[in-house]
């Protein structure tokens, strides 16, 4: 275990940046999101949750797949280069790292998505344990320990000092490279911090949310439940929940005519949108109730059925914070368990 004083972090970032691209929470116009580090970036490690999850470091909101040129009526396809240089993501929280584990199940399953795989291969994650979990947090419900993030390096911010512990080979290598700025220390303070934060977690309003009734062979029962007809009503179909979500992975593939060839790109999409499933011959989910139900059924029933019971929600609470109609997965889970109690 090592540590570094908070005021020396700028030097740490500069040193990491000498050999790696570095992404970390940066405040721009009052909003904090993961962005590339530069010397004059306003790094913000105090805000618990970035507005968007850091998933776009590995699965960008928009990325080019290839360019198609036409010369003498012949088409030529030039695939976009894959990421081939190491980069560091600093400050990811335990829930967002679990989100990457969910995305791995999608993009690294056969056939492997090589664009995503290249980023995962070259990315080094330095996690920051949560110090002050918020009321909208419910990661505990999905088995995430916010005091012990599973990354290449885990860090804890305690009384103006960052405690640093390598957990993987990649993490060891990075530690070696920045060792000149770190000092060795014992784990006592980190252990005390973990216990203190765990106590906070226990007291959070959603920490005891029950997933009882969502596992096993419940597809037909849940799908046909009358509750969806009431629950979906406030939904504006804006798709905010899917964009801030660390596990939503639906995407669109589109063409952009650059004037000098056609760029094929993919970008985030949302199952909340009416044209998501629209075909020339019709739409198989043509009501907002169906689309709303799809999102939660996918997270709580369909995804676990294909992935050894792993839910496609990590309890980050961004949908709780951001939905303009105050709809979210907590409301859905609660509505079903309250119904069960009656």
């Amino acid at each position: 275990m090592y540590k570094i004083a908070k005021e020396n972090l700028a030097s740490l970032f500069a040193l990491i940046h000498e050999t790696n691209e570095l992404y970390l929470p940066v405040q721009v116009a009052g909003q904090t999101n993961f962005a590339a580090w530069s010397e004059d970036a306003c790094v913000d490690l105090d805000t618990l949750k970035t507005v968007k999850s850091p998933k776009d470091v590995f699965f960008p909101q928009s990325e080019t797949l290839y360019t198609c040129n036409k010369e003498d009526n012949k088409l030529r396809i030039t695939p976009e280069a894959l990421v081939d240089a190491p980069f560091v993501v600093f400050g990811m929280k335990a829930c967002d790292i679990k989100g990457i584990e969910v995305l791995d199940r999608v993009f690294l399953s056969d056939p492997v998505d090589s664009f995503y795989a290249a980023r995962r291969e070259h990315g080094i994650i330095v996690a920051l344990a949560c110090h002050e979990p918020e009321e909208s947090c419910f990661c505990k419900v999905f088995g995430v320990d916010c005091t012990e993030p599973a990354a290449d390096v885990a860090t804890w911010m305690i009384e103006g000092e960052l405690y640093w512990k390598a957990l993987t080979e990649k993490g060891e290598k990075l530690t070696e490279a920045v060792k000149s700025l770190l000092t060795e220390t014992c784990e006592a303070k980190v252990e005390a911090e973990k216990s203190a934060v765990k106590e906070i977690v226990e007291k959070l309003p959603y920490s005891n949310l029950s997933l009882e009734g969502w596992n096993g062979d419940v597809l037909t029962e849940k799908f046909n439940d009358e509750l969806w007809n009431e629950l979906y009503k406030p939904c504006l179909a804006c798709g905010t929940c899917t964009f801030v979500c660390p596990t939503c992975q639906c995407y669109d593939i589109k063409d952009y005519n650059t004037g000098n060839g056609v760029q094929r790109y993919r970008c985030w999409d949302s199952c909340m949108y009416s044209d998501f499933t629209m075909m020339a011959h019709g739409n198989n989910r043509n009501s907002q109730m169906q689309r709303f139900r799809q999102r939660f059924m996918h997270k709580l029933v369909y995804f676990p059925a294909n992935n050894d019971g792993m839910y496609s929600c990590v309890g980050c609470g961004r949908c709780v914070d951001k939905c303009p109609a105050s709809l979210n997965i907590v409301k859905v889970i609660k509505a079903f368990s309250e119904k069960g109690d009656k």
């Binding site: 797949l65 290839y66 198609c68 036409k70 009526n73 012949k74 088409l75 030529r76 396809i77 030039t78 695939p79 976009e80 280069a81 894959l82 081939d84 999608v106 993009f107 399953s109 056939p111 492997v112 998505d113 090589s114 664009f115 795989a117 597809l219 037909t220 799908f223 992975q249 639906c250 995407y251 669109d252 593939i253 063409d255 005519n257 056609v262 094929r264 993919r266 999409d269 199952c271 998501f276 499933t277 629209m278 075909m279 020339a280 011959h281 198989n284 989910r285 169906q290 799809q294 059924m297 996918h298 029933v301 369909y302 995804f303 059925a305 294909n306």
Partner: protein, 299 residues
């Protein structure tokens, strides 16, 4: 890497270390023949620019065809894998992309990626069985791949009945092949029908589901325990054919069909064709009817 021109049929190449050909990167295909089947259906023959097929496939599988700058769509491969020279796609004009495809000429290049999805179990379940193909309109496209596969491996299968109908005689696709090849292959009976009377049409008139029932009840087509039915057509036709078969005591485990939902990636990742815990592009498009019963009714 950015100057690397890529048009390999295989999904992995060794042009430089570490390069993996992603399934989302297409190949270039050349349209080498276009047949006008009906007023709104054309069959396109596609080859690799250097000749030959772009890839191997199995009956029922699909591929993504794209006119760059317009859009990309999933189409079933209508030719049989036993055809070693080219692949064919029968495409109905009904939207932006298909309109564009219909405007192309022989020699035009498009992009193709695939094959995607599962296939009809031609080498397992269907072997040794009597087969009844039931198709409506453009729904013949995926079944044609199976029918020609069966014809080319005739000894492996029992009796074959093909029940095919369309709105009018002008809307029957592959009519030349039906008359010249299928009707002249021993052990294959073709039963054609059109929805309404039409001058010059001497054959059966009536909807496909009713026709299926008539043929079955008259004993002209047998739906025995050794029979497998393969259905493809408009959802309403499938629904009523299923009713007719069920009335005649055919089990859902003896019936296969294909589902069609919006697709973008073709590999079960983009989320569009997700239905229950299945992805139609990856786990389908071919499903046995009892498997469809387990899915939420969102198809």
């Amino acid at each position: 890497m950015s100057n690397h021109e890529h048009n390999h049929g295989e999904h992995e190449c060794t042009c430089f270390p570490g390069f993996k050909h992603d399934t989302l990167i297409p190949m270039v295909g050349v349209i080498t023949d276009i047949r006008e089947e009906t007023p709104d259906v054309k069959t396109f023959r596609v080859n690799a620019p250097e000749g030959g097929k772009l890839f191997e496939h199995m009956p029922g599988q699909c591929a993504m065809l794209c006119v760059p700058g317009v859009s990309e769509g999933m189409f079933s491969i209508t030719s049989s894998p036993t055809n070693k020279e080219y692949q064919e796609f029968s495409i109905k004009r009904c939207g932006m992309l298909t309109e564009m495809l219909h405007s192309l000429e022989v020699g035009s290049e498009i992009t193709v990626r695939g094959p995607y999805g599962n296939n009809f179990p031609v080498d397992t379940v269907l072997k040794g069985k009597d087969l009844v193909f039931i198709a409506g309109g453009i729904g013949l496209a995926p079944l044609r791949s199976v029918i020609n596969y069966v014809i080319d491996n005739r000894a492996d299968y029992g009796k074959v009945d093909i029940i095919y109908g369309s709105r009018s005689a002008d809307d029957l696709v592959q009519l030349k092949e039906i008359r010249e090849v299928w009707m002249n292959t021993p052990g294959i009976n073709v039963h054609l029908t059109i929805d309404r009377e039409q001058e010059g049409w001497e054959g059966h008139v009536g909807f496909v589901p009713t026709f299926v029932k008539e043929l079955g009840e008259a004993g002209q087509v047998e739906f025995g325990i050794n029979t497998i039915s393969l259905i493809c057509g408009p959802p309403i036709m499938i629904k009523f054919v299923l009713g007719a078969l069920s009335d005649m005591g055919v089990s859902k485990t003896q019936i296969y069909t294909t589902l069609e939902l919006r697709m973008k990636c073709g590999v079960g990742k983009c989320g569009r064709c997700n239905i229950g815990s299945k992805y139609v592009c990856k786990d389908g498009p071919v499903f046995r009817f009892d498997e469809i019963d387990e899915l939420p009714p969102e198809y």
